[in-house]
């Protein structure tokens, strides 16, 4: 297949326009739920097709670009696809289809109110995710980062209960606050020093700042992107768990949190450049902060009885694997981090799907209530088991891959602290996931067999299968991940 240069910008434009149009269609069709859900599904499938076409081109070496609008001198909204963004967009657009299917089952099964605004905000969040993944410069990334924060706020506060409103406040203040106080100044500073905001593999800051200033700037980026949930800016994530489960699944296990680590990784590779980071040692401190976050989050997860809360803290820990890899700043580490973005996405969404399925069928929200539930909901808990294995990092699940390369990078750098953290964390992961499995499968069941609505079961089986398939056939993500640093 030849690459038509005219086609690529059009595809890029479509990747933003499709979910945006889906938003309008959803709002317009609000009165007819079936048509409204059809709009979501059609939008998701078309977006997937467009992203796959872009993927084919990117794998052949194309780097499509599109200048959207020059906002003001020095500020341009521009898109440029690179392998890392392609990977992120591919994961998000694939899982949007599955998640939409799941949402339909969940929202109808639980008779949730205000569904039109729910689906509309969801589609806006996907638009923002696409824009963020394909951002060609720091300004564009920031714009979509903020749109993502704002569009997910109504989803977090969906229940409109006092707890939900409080959680919404924490959510918005942490994410928007950190991005304005740290991320924005970091971007302006970068622009001033480097003379450009464009991403370039190898970085734009080489030799322009001293080691101390580089470390400070790197810290501003890492904590400014609070969506990465590096401690102490992690509180918003467990708070956001009051949202309906599909939101926790796609947004707070995939799109929003990955937007955070994606930003960190992107900045590592294309603003600082891994060589600059290595020679200056500007990211060394982050190994310790990320390591602490991994272990501390796992300890909290160990003690959490609420299932979604346990999953949220597990996410915080897993995100910091990626941040840790960014801090190690070597090609292998970046490879592992990118793979882990894909692997954690597909496994964690499975776990959340299962949690939501258990809630819909049995209204169970706590680990202590899950006795024998595996016998009653074998599909759901079977998928949960696969997701859990992947979190621990055991083959044959996708979680093994990323962890393997990150461990490889840590030993390669003879960073024994990082190695220790990964080992300890693996043990802790097992310690908080395996008891759920033993409880669910080995304790006696308290009732008859009863699965969640069919769309939900299909969705969670699909992502569980994906978790295994990604281990068996990691070809495409692996090629993308190895192209990130190689150029």
């Amino acid at each position: 297949m030849t690459i038509l240069p005219l086609n690529d910008p059009a595809l890029l434009a479509l990747s933003l326009a499709l979910p945006a149009l889906a938003t309008l269609a959803i709002a317009w069709l609000g009165r007819w739920p079936n048509l409204r859900e059809a709009a979501t599904l059609v939008g998701a499938v078309l977006l997937f097709a467009v992203v796959m076409m872009l993927l084919a081109h990117v794998l052949q070496g194309a780097r499509p670009e599109l200048k959207l609008v020059a906002v003001a001198p020095g500020l341009t909204l521009a898109l440029k696809v690179d392998p890392l963004g392609m990977l992120f967009a591919g994961v998000a657009s694939t899982l949007w289809i599955v998640n939409s299917l799941y949402s339909i089952g969940y929202m109808r099964g639980n008779d949730e109110p205000r569904q039109t605004i729910f689906y509309a905000c969801f589609a806006i969040a996907i638009t923002a995710t696409m824009g963020l993944a394909f951002a060609g410069n720091l300004f564009t990334l920031f714009v979509f980062y903020e749109i993502l924060s704002l569009s997910t706020y109504p989803l977090v506060t969906h229940k409109q209960s006092p707890t939900a409103m409080r959680a919404g406040r924490v959510y918005l203040l942490t994410l928007v606050g950190a991005s304005m106080v740290l991320l924005l100044p970091a971007i302006v500073w970068t622009g001033l020093v480097a003379g450009t905001l464009d991403f370039r593999v190898g970085g734009i800051l080489d030799g322009k700042l001293g080691a101390g200033a580089l470390a400070l700037l790197f810290a501003m980026f890492v904590f400014g992107a609070a969506k990465a949930a590096v401690m102490p800016l992690h509180r918003w994530l467990p708070a956001a768990m009051v949202a309906p489960t599909p939101v926790s699944a796609l947004l707070h296990a995939v799109a929003v949190v990955k937007a955070g680590v994606f930003t960190v990784l992107k900045v590592t590779v294309s603003v600082f450049g891994i060589e600059t980071l290595q020679t200056s040692g500007a990211s060394e401190w982050l190994v310790y902060v990320a390591g602490f976050t991994i272990v501390a989050a796992s300890v909290v997860a160990l003690r959490a009885d609420d299932l979604k809360r346990r999953l949220a803290y597990s996410t915080i820990g897993q995100l910091s694997y990626i941040v840790l890899a960014a801090a190690l700043a070597s090609p292998v580490a970046v490879l592992g981090a990118a793979l882990h973005i894909a692997a954690h996405a597909v496994s964690k969404i499975t776990l959340f799907f299962a949690a939501g399925s258990v809630y819909t069928a049995e209204h169970v929200t706590k680990v202590s209530q899950m006795d024998g539930i595996g016998r009653r909901m074998p599909w759901t808990m079977g998928a949960f088991a696969i997701g859990a294995l992947s979190m621990i990092g055991l083959p044959p699940t996708a979680g093994f891959l990323g962890k393997w390369f990150i461990l490889d990078a840590a030993t390669g750098a003879t960073n024994w602290f990082a190695v220790g953290v990964i080992v300890v964390s693996t043990v802790l992961n097992a310690a908080y996931f395996l008891p759920i499995l033993t409880r669910a499968f080995l304790r006696p069941a308290k009732g008859p067999r009863r699965e969640a609505p069919l769309p939900m079961v299909i969705a969670l089986s699909a992502t569980a299968a994906g978790t295994v398939l990604l281990f068996l056939f990691p070809g495409v993500p692996y090629r993308l991940a190895s192209m990130i640093v190689g150029g």
Binding site: V69, A70, V71, A72, P73, G74, L75, L77, F139, F142, V143, E146, I147, L150, P154, T157, Q160, M165, G168, R169, L172, L173, V176, G177, M180, V181, L184, P185, V188, W189, G191, L192
Partner: protein
Amino acid sequence: MIASHLPVLVILIPLLGAVLAALSRHGFAAWLIALLASAAMAAASLALLFRVQAEGMISYRIGGWAPELGIEYRIDAFNVLIVVLVSVVALLTMIYARRSVLAEIIPERIAWFYTMMLLCVAGLLGIAVTGDAFNAFVFLEISSLATYTLIALGRDRRALVAAYQYLIVGTIGATLYVIGVGLIYLSTGTLNLGLIAERLAGIEGSRALIVAEAFIAVGICLKLALFPLHAWLPNAYAYAPSSAAVLLASTATKVAIYLLARFLFTVFGGHVDVGALPIGAILIVLSVAAMFIASAAAVFQNDVKRILAFSSVGQVGYITLGLALANPTGLAGGLLHLVNHALMKGAAFMAIGAIVLRAGTAKLDELSGIGRTMPWTSAALTVAGLGLIGVPGTSGFVSKYYLILGALEAGFGWLAILIVASSVIAVLYVGRIVEVVWFREPAEAARASREAPLELLLPMWVLAGATIWFGIDAEWPAGLAAAAARQLLGGAP
């Protein structure tokens, strides 16, 4: 040829309109006159803008008398921006005003209301176009007296106290200003701003001039409500009739800021022994204080109009900060924020005015769920709020971006952090409004109301739309602001 008289026409049109409106004594007729006058005035100021862009600075001599004896009007890249802003916002306010005024003002006073609105606009435009220090004082008084009356026309009895409070403070401000102008006249023998600037160059270390600068700066800062000289503003905005609040919030303080910049840069710019009077440093401190303290005060208000008013005091801080930075980027950012803030605050006050019209209250705790029954109005309020925070995609982001860049260029990294940190406070007060309006079950007031009429929504959404548009395509306003900043930093006009 009418085109050559444009500089004076922009003032004569509203002035004549005011006389006609007063004579008409009839509410609807007065409104029609005000609307037509504003439309003509807006057209004239746009024509003026294109002429300035094509030909550069315009000097107009009133009655043909040369400066020194006569009064000169000078239009350059800086004040043409203010003229266009004031007249366009005035036109939108007039479109908006009819329904709102019918509901808020006793019928026999409506004609007077429009008279005062036009007088106020005439005064504001006069300050902007004149090149004469004393003439500026005259226009300042015209606009101020009209403003006192406008505020006092509010239905709430507290409006009288608010108007009285502003009358006292405003008069003190004007007096300080005129004392400063008197001192300058004694030292230089002229009232023409251009000539003053030229003659100041020849005067070294005169104490009278330093005192003059202090008097003028403090006098004007009272009018522009620079923290801590802002106490008059929240009550004035909260109790004035809704449409008067729109006009005042988006134009009155902006024109005062213009006058301050004119004196600091064009008149005194580098001529007086600047070291003796650290106006830049003082301005930075007070601006930062405004950004934090006034914004924090906004968080604790219950009346939405008061939230917006305190927010205005805070936002003025960003603009004066831009003036204090005095480098091309920072100053352009400040001036851009002047324009952007006028647009978004205009939209916000129009929205709350519409809510008052329909729901009869501006108290936040009574407005639960009003977004359900008045979605377009609430959406405009939300857009304006996002602009106040400085969310990317709104004009507020672009101006704050330039301010941060300006602070970093000046080597004030800490100032950049303060700018963004204070924006987080805006998240709090805007977030409170958004939460109540959209995410609460509709209360009594919300259930009883319906969407605002089109003639309110239209001007409201022109301003809200501009807030979005200038956030996505800021080339035009940023270009105008940069040109204005160059003009100011270039020294004498």
